[in-house]
Chain length 212, copies 4
């Protein structure tokens, strides 16, 4: 990797024509990532502050389909990655620059915190402790090693699908890319998320809060 490449990789210089790395970061993009992550965390964890037990179906559909809508609404602005793991995947494939990765991750973390704070503000405080505001814990018998491995697998499916489906060189992708990305979250949540029947115990998603 020459000096020129390195500058492009960092995002300090525009890539040559045909380069997939797009280093320009605008405020518009950062706002889109901030807003998208805010909405994703807000809708994805809203069920955790509902009174009573949560059925195991509502959560995956609420989070996954909300993501599909958010990606559809914002993809033309910033790509709507709304997740540092996703941005890292795009960076690894040399499709965004290092600076873009850093700034997007900051905007996404700020959005995630804002989403949780907003949810806290607009729901009864008596429910906040019920399911720990949607933060995930390990199910009984699941070790930290298990949890990390499962997180790796579900994040792999999501990022692998997204990077592949949005590859500009593919000409065979028909249908809605935002929808299939949202349905990836639905699939992963149904596979890996275990709603607590009585106590608050989820399986293998302890990194969700950190990831988004």
């Amino acid at each position: 990797m020459g000096k020129l490449d390195c500058l492009v990789w960092l995002g300090l210089k525009q890539g040559p024509p045909g380069s997939t790395i797009d280093g320009v970061v605008t405020w518009r993009m950062l706002i889109a990532e901030y807003l998208g992550t805010l909405l994703l965390v807000f809708f994805g964890t809203m069920l955790a502050v509902a009174p009573g037990n949560v059925d195991p179906i509502s959560g995956p559909f609420a989070g996954g389909l909300a993501l599909a809508c958010i990606v559809q609404a914002l993809a033309h602005v910033s790509g709507a990655m709304v997740n540092p793991a996703m941005s890292l995947g795009f960076f690894t494939c040399r499709r965004i620059s290092f600076i873009k990765l850093c700034l997007f991750s900051l905007a996404q973390c700020a959005g995630a915190i804002s989403g949780s704070a907003l949810l806290k503000a607009v729901t009864p405080s008596t429910n906040h402790a019920l399911h720990a505001m949607g933060s995930t814990t390990l199910a009984p018998g699941v070790t930290i090693f298990h949890g990390i491995c499962i997180e790796i697998m579900i994040t792999f499916l999501l990022v692998f699908l997204t990077v592949s489906a949005t590859d500009g060189r593919r000409v065979d992708v028909t249908g809605s890319i935002p929808l299939i990305i949202g349905l990836a979250i639905v699939a992963c949540s149904f596979a890996a998320l275990k709603e607590p029947p009585a106590k608050v115990k989820w399986r293998g998603r302890e990194a969700r809060r950190i990831r988004s």
Copy 2:
């Protein structure tokens, strides 16, 4: 905004070429909005007159997928907004005129009332009081402030998605727009709607009847 613009904005004058405001309102459009809203309210609240408890999954899918079908069937006639909130969003983005907003809202309200009346006519009257014909109430502990905030958020996601996805300047939208709009309703319903386990208490959707 000059005098000309104001007339266009009101819908009293056709916009210049390239203008996004389309002020022409035909009977065909009003009938489409009336019929679409009638069908949406009819299918969206049909479960509320079923005997026995309602599971928390059927409602979101019945309402959201019915909306997807209605939008698919009527979008080429009037845009199939079937919701004053949606029409207001399009008006705010200067994509429909003030007169269109008013007439569409009237047709939508008439359709919503007709849908509920039709549902009342074709279902056993003994079930009508079970779930208040599908009108939503606040869950225990949820204040009016909470409810309004949650309504603002779910309506924001729906209208934001729709206005963005139907923007004629976007060239990256593939897949079915009616489907993603319907799935937005599915996501919002799963996140914000709490089916009552024994008593009639829903969360944060008290404005549904008014909205549609």
Copy 3:
């Protein structure tokens, strides 16, 4: 309607160029309608011969998504109407001829009977009486008038959507038409179908066996 038109309407004569009525009926088409209806009834009622209670979610998705697959697989052969009500809708819009309507309906009825017979042959006979092989009955308190009205409404949504979405003059239809047709069945089933918690009582779908 002149004599020429009448012959076209009947299907005895090819319509003029640009005519939407396509009177040619081939064995290929009849086999496609037969096979499609067989598969639809087989998959749509398979849950009714499962032992134990049926959850209210599986049925709508099994039937609706199977229909989406069937339409996707056979649409280029015969249109994959797989339902006399659908064929009647296309006939009413003058998109198929009277002869096609009659022959398709016969093939569909034969397919429906074959589907049920096949299901009976490949499932334990002890389960056949559990849910009456999937035939629908009126829920308690629902009169025949109610049932017919609800059937009219759900069949209207399905046929209206299909006739509108497949209109060749529309240029705004993106996404999968088979999928949205299947999801219409999902929406209608979730809205109108009430799975029995203990006894066999469904709501408002007594005409399903006749329709398909």
Copy 4:
């Protein structure tokens, strides 16, 4: 079938221009089939190692939507058949060669075994015996004949749909083919899979492990 055709059929010779048989097998393709089947088995059976009862909804969506994502991510490399039954279908329609069928099936079986092994490695061993790691058994009263017939029907729907939807001569296929293939699995699972309420008894899917 002449000698030339036979060599093409075997995959030892490139077909003439316009031939649908593509006999070239690359390591890239085999890796894609291996990885895809690994992911499918991993996500499709992950619920079987969750503690406690499994609801009847999560399984079909986890498996079907994961397949949709996998097909979307890998279809441009190898076709993402991820199932010997699917490869056999494509071979029967003379769209892949005999050598490709054999090598793909080997890669798929290796992937399936790896997926199960990986799942075993990253989940608590106390749960492995709960649902037999997702292998399917016959429900009470269901004979081997019943099970085989139901397997034939659900595999028929899946392979028939896929072979038809991916036919290059069709020009009417819009929307996402990976999604409709995944939804075929959802439909078949909802129709044929009976989650055990207390004991481990599934219906009619004993061949799943073999198939994938």
